[in-house]
Symmetry: C2
Subunit: 349 residues, 2 copies
DNA sequence: ATAACAGTTGTAATCGATTGCACTAAAGTA
DNA sequence: TACTTTAGTGCAATCGATTACAACTGTTAT
């Protein structure tokens, strides 16, 4: 049923040209007020809806943007996407999502099909396996705005929105030091990713600033998995000396560590304080809530969207790359809070 | 730089018509093999990329689908979207995401802009506040395939993919009964949503089947929040008699209940067994992992996508509505597992 | 009275790909 | 030889909206 109404239908009905209808609808100053009102009224009556495909073909602008992430159902990524959607939706943009499954080949594929669909911009967090960046540079060459969030690559002309991972690492470590911890271990992630390198450096910097010796063996590469956290604890407890705190760059590894420590009968946070990273939803639900560095993902998405909007508004003129760095927020919870434990003990007496 | 190559560029270079190029690229049988090969080769050399907008305008098919959910960063919804994306991506579709924030007005708005962008189909989970369904019926009238997942409305001609919430409620309750629980309370959700009504009925049916008395006061409407779960426990413990098990239609309320029971010094699962619903990621990470009914969201998404594909393949001919009902899976964990506790006690001796 | 001009509106090309119909040349048939 | 058939290709319209340029009307300046 519902036949699509076009500007031609309106122009026929009013015995005027389609050009006039188009101009009237676009509020072109050359059209008389009388005609404009008539067209607008008739369009409403006929329930006219602009064909956005035709418009897109003519203008080259689709009002669609693409977001490329490893997995859409990771809490962090879906929250960033939420931020992007909420910021762009009022501006008439639609958000297309793509997953790479952490595989560069998919990343390349997704970029190509997105470019082919003529999206107006791309937001992405690179896959862990991405080394070569030709496919990313191609986006810039095609003049499509590209914005990295969280996981970026250093490529000229590409804007990015990240958190200050160095600071995150620093804050976490500083907090543990202030809780009286002297031998802090660090569970790092895949060092191919800048974010993990930065967290590690933040850790080292805090140790240095507070004159706490950073034992090299205590810097370990641990996967973002519960079991990896447990294993890492076992590895540590096979060494000649053990840490009195863990700063894990992953909440999952932190959880695994806590579980393993409990199994060993080691008290958290009294004997070993633990801090994670990402503020995964589960961290605050635990019986022993886990201190964690919040990456403010929704804010990150919003900011990425804002950078995009600036870039296309300012368009050709000043399309300078913009690097936004958000400050992470340390959420202190029981897994590291010795003060709190002391208080609780006192109040129980 | 990178000028867009069109079929006209190819046709000029080869001194043939654009029509021939188009047909060659589409493998039209009327074109000679020689010409086809020549065109294909030249197209590859010139790095030709088909303009999907032009094609979409001509064919009326955009290869985009829209997904409307309350919030994209809820674990359940983002997992469904993942399933949809993974199933549709190989077929060349892109997934556009929209959020309603549980507000009908946004729902209406999103549907309108999606229809206007000429997506090829819509997947949606209705907002809690949705009562009137005119905006949804409009989609059907415009002949756009619509598929409900999880939260549906009963409207003729609309396919849906849901889990058997009745069975989920039944399984959870049956499990508690088999653990020896006699006085099982049920935390229901917003009864405006079919899913919560069904879970409740499953609970009642199991109670009846096993001759366990369902105390009316033990069926409570509890929000999907931790605090609501705690409050509900307090309400129950103000009654003359208390339950020995809780089947909560929400994992969050279940968690709140467990926390409150612990505060009261009541042992879970020994004194009160608890089962949640949704299998939120946190349920399995808890120190006391929570038994929960898994809704298999990724599978749900995949199935919804399959229904969509069937509908557009079979197109006009047999566009009969299809109702897919997936079987939920009960993940038994410690919060309800008395057998396990017994075993643990024995093994400790 | 006529040129000049502002204000409106129409004509037609354009964005790229697709496709019904027409046309050509070569092959087949009588 | 004359006519039909068929394979292969081109022409031009179409999808719907936009826009440079042309054209027309009525008004103002000279």
């Amino acid at each position: 049923m519902a036949e699509k109404i076009t500007i031609y239908d309106i122009s026929n009905k009013l015995n005027i040209s389609a050009a006039t209808v188009s101009r009237a609808l676009n509020n072109n100053p050359k059209i008389s007020l009388k005609t404009k009102e008539l067209v607008l009224k008739t369009a409403a009556e006929m329930n006219y809806k602009q064909n956005r495909l035709a418009q897109a073909l003519k203008s080259g602008k689709t009002n669609n943007v693409g977001v490329i992430v490893p997995y859409i159902n990771r809490s962090f990524f879906s929250s960033v996407i939420r931020g992007i959607e909420e910021e762009l939706s009022p501006h008439g943009y639609h958000v297309i999502i793509c997953q790479t499954h952490e595989d560069v080949h998919n990343e390349i594929e997704q970029i190509n099909t997105l470019l082919n669909t003529q999206i107006d911009g791309i937001f992405m967090s690179v896959a862990k396996t991405t080394q070569d960046t030709k496919h990313i540079e191609k986006v810039v060459k095609e003049n499509t705005p590209l914005i990295f969030f969280d996981r970026k690559k250093n490529i000229d002309g590409i804007s990015s929105v990240v958190i200050d991972d160095f600071k995150g690492g620093y804050l976490a470590t500083e907090h543990l030091i202030k809780q009286g911890c002297k031998k802090i271990a660090h569970f790092s992630g895949d060092l191919n990713l800048e974010i993990y390198r930065n967290r590690h450096e933040g850790y080292l910097a805090a140790m240095k600033d507070y004159d706490v010796t950073a034992i090299p063996k205590f810097s370990m590469q641990v996967n973002s998995k519960i079991e990896s956290g447990s294993t890492a604890i076992n590895d540590l407890w096979n060494l000649s000396e053990q840490p009195d705190a863990i700063f894990s760059a992953s909440d999952y590894a932190a959880l695994g560590a806590i579980q393993e420590l409990k199994r060993k009968g080691i008290k958290v946070p009294e004997e070993v304080g633990v801090v994670g990273f990402s503020n995964e939803p589960f961290t605050k639900y635990m019986e022993l809530p886990i201190t964690s560095v919040d990456q403010t993902p929704v804010e990150m998405g919003r900011n990425a969207a804002k950078v995009f909007l600036e870039q296309i508004e300012g368009s050709k003129t000043l399309s300078i790359e913009k690097k936004v760095v958000l400050t992470p927020k340390l959420n202190i919870r029981e897994s590291s809070n010795r003060e709190l434990i002391k208080k609780l003990l006192v109040s129980k007496e």
